[in-house]
Amino acid sequence: MSNTPSSGHAPMRTALGRVRGLGSARSGTDHFFKQRVTGLANLVLMIAFIGIVICLAGASYATTRAILGNPFVAVIMLLTLLSVTTHMRIGMQVVIEDYVHSEALKVLLIVANTFFSIAIALAGAFAVLKISLGG
């Protein structure tokens, strides 16, 4: 990697300053820290989530929609979806990186992991919003 950016100017930061703390993956402790922040969020959200699920266990279509449509419940569900899908995406990436040693398959699975996590997040969020905003 060249030290000179495409503009031709010498970089403000030294080579050491740019890589310090970033390691070979160029992302430093980003995943490590995010995993703990979302883990903490999951723990708090899970308590509310379990309460919601117990209230809705075996509930009818109308009751389920009425409770999921409550703004407070909907926001809890959206926050849970955001935090959980971020956490599970990082977690699965670690598992893939640990056990899949073929470079092509590893990249393919990490991309599939990204697709699955984002699809889960968006599908869940869309369903909650559709119920909440009346449709």
Binding site: R36, G39, L40, N42, L43, M46, I50, I54, C55, A57, G58, Y61, T64, R65, L68, M77, V84, T85, M88, G91, M92, V95, I120, A123, G124, F126, A127, V128, K130, I131, G135
Partner: protein
Amino acid sequence: MADSPQRIDRPLSPHLQIYRPLFTMMMSIVHRITGVGLYFGTAILVWWLLAAATSPSAFESFRAVAGSPIGLIVLFGYTWALLHHALGGVRHFIWDFIHGFGPKERILLAKATLAGSVALTVILWVVGLVVKG
């Protein structure tokens, strides 16, 4: 390298072919397995939400599957996996702050995780069944 110093037996990362099974190691493996299970289990959550957003018949299809014996067993397992992974996360938080690494503490923490997850799962299902009536 003939003159390299004699190999020191340093602790290794838990590794199935190198370490004999230890309790904390098994708990670490189970933490990862429950994490992977929860990952795919999110599809059940999204199916439920999408069914409720789609139509009464879509919702009835979900209810029929979730309320079947196999559905209930999967949901019971999912509850345990969620609680086990959550309590395992708390244990890792404690370790992140450099507490509980003593030989007795780490075993106690691992046992508390296991006992707590099983007890909480049973309690939640009893409460759930009572609420449902």
